[in-house]
């Protein structure tokens, strides 16, 4: 019995995949919306922000999980926040050193990764309870899911709003860009549209299952 307690469920594909689709932080849990909407006016920014968040997520999960038996319960939130803030500061310096242009485009939103509830949520609900490898794998999945969501938003907004993708023109000179899409309202509209699409898919799937059950009952 005691063994069972020490040996939690093994790492499966689900540990990783869950974060990408079933528990997608942006589209399903509606967390971390601030960076997801604020910096996704171009695909490049979306990728930059996604990777930065992924890095912070994985590193802080690893450290939190490593220290999980040392951190007393009363000061855990404070500890997590300090750990997260450390990695965010590192990412901030790294991006600044890698690309000045990206740094200027993302601005204060790199530092605002600290307040991204996805990361604190992972630390609190997963990394503090699981082994290092498992938390890292899970954090990686969530991070990829977050980047994927940002890409979904960023690509749509860039294509519609400026007629380009990664800076390359798509439609030629005659295209009149739908400017509002790269402006703040566009962020709200695009995420609203994605959510509509997802809930439509979900409803269709449910209806199909219902129908199958009905036919099964009719024939059986």
């Amino acid at each position: 019995m005691a063994d069972l307690h020490h040996k939690p469920t093994p790492i499966t594909m689900d540990t990783f995949l869950r974060g990408i689709w079933k528990e997608n932080p942006v589209f399903v849990m509606l967390l971390g919306l601030c960076p997801a909407l604020a910096v996704t006016n171009t695909t490049m920014n979306a990728i930059g922000m996604g990777l930065a968040t992924l890095f912070v997520l994985v590193c802080s999960s690893a450290l939190v999980s490593l220290l999980r038996s040392v951190i007393p319960k009363q000061v855990r939130i404070a500890s997590y926040i300090v750990i997260i803030a450390t990695f965010v500061t590192i990412v901030d310096y790294a991006i600044h050193a890698i690309s000045l242009e990206l740094y200027n485009a993302l601005g204060a939103f790199i530092q605002l990764i600290v307040a991204n509830c996805v990361i604190l949520g992972r630390a609190e609900s997963y990394a503090s309870k699981n082994r290092v490898t498992k938390s890292v794998v899970n954090a990686f999945g969530i991070g990829i899911g977050f980047t994927f969501a940002l890409l979904c938003l960023g690509t749509v907004r860039e294509v519609l709003g400026s007629g380009t993708i990664l800076g390359y023109s798509l439609f030629g000179e005659s295209f009149q860009p739908w400017v509002v899409m790269v402006l703040p309202p566009g962020g709200f509209f695009v995420i609203g549209a994605w959510l509509l699409l997802f809930s439509w898919l979900k409803e269709r799937k449910q209806r199909k299952i219902l129908k199958q059950e009905e036919t099964a009952r009719a024939t059986g």
């Binding site: 300090v82 450390t86 790294a94």
Partner: protein, 234 residues
């Protein structure tokens, strides 16, 4: 059972361990941050210097980047202070560019004014010989993308041509401009001190020239006073 009892009354006995853990975490994070900051600082400084240099050379036509030198100055009512790269602590607001023989080619100055959504910041080149603005780079503009943002503005050749030779001649008494820099509606430019606005981004165009005007009104009389120092690089 004993574990349960302990976890129910933890605050008092664990206060030392709380402090210890927080101290440990603070140390780890401090160490990491300091290491990264130390490592990236020179890279960032170098990149920023390059970016500014590029912008400064861009606003002064005819610069050969390989041989030209840029010198930063802080200019105010109190006088002109030369800032060296290493020792410079003051805020530089004037960048003089010299050719290989040490002669002044032009001066780059900063300007800013409230645009449509946020402040529009620019860097412009001033040629004391013709007393005119000879180049302009938009450092930051977040106004309506596709109309008043940095790339669209700089891509609009017709608009940028305004700043190839915009007159900012000083008045007789050397205390202000003879004609204030002003924006006129698209297609109605008559004087060499006027800026032909972009139709569709009038507020942004107006912000640019207002920023130029403010900066020029303040800085150019001061530059005229110190021109003999600025003229030769020594």
């Amino acid at each position: 059972m004993s574990g349960d009892v302990q976890s129910q009354s933890p605050p008092m006995p664990s206060s030392l361990s709380m402090i210890r853990t927080l101290g440990l975490i603070a140390m780890i994070s401090g160490l990491l941050v300091v290491l990264v900051a130390r490592y990236t600082e020179p890279i960032i400084k170098e990149k920023e210097r390059l970016a500014l240099e590029q912008a400064v050379f861009q606003v002064i036509p005819g610069v050969v980047q390989a041989t030209a030198t840029r010198v930063s100055f802080a200019l105010s009512e109190d006088g002109l202070v030369r800032l060296d790269e290493e020792t410079g602590t003051g805020e530089a607001n004037l960048f003089a560019v010299y050719d290989d023989s040490g002669m002044l080619m032009g001066i780059a100055l900063q300007a800013a004014a409230q645009g449509y959504q946020d402040v529009v910041r620019t860097l412009y080149g001033y040629d004391p010989k013709c007393e005119c603005i000879v180049g302009l780079v938009i450092m930051k503009s977040t106004d309506t993308p596709g109309m008043g943002d940095k790339n669209t503005l700089e891509g609009n050749r017709q608009f940028m041509a305004n700043f190839d030779a915009l007159s900012v001649q000083l008045a007789e008494d050397q205390s202000r401009l003879a004609h204030a820099v002003e924006t006129v509606k698209h297609g109605t430019k008559t004087g060499i001190w006027q800026v032909d606005a972009i139709s569709g981004a009038t507020i942004t165009s107006r912000a640019i020239s207002r920023g130029l005007n403010e900066s020029a009104q303040k800085m150019l009389p001061l530059i005229a006073r110190h021109l003999h120092v600025l003229k030769v690089n020594n």
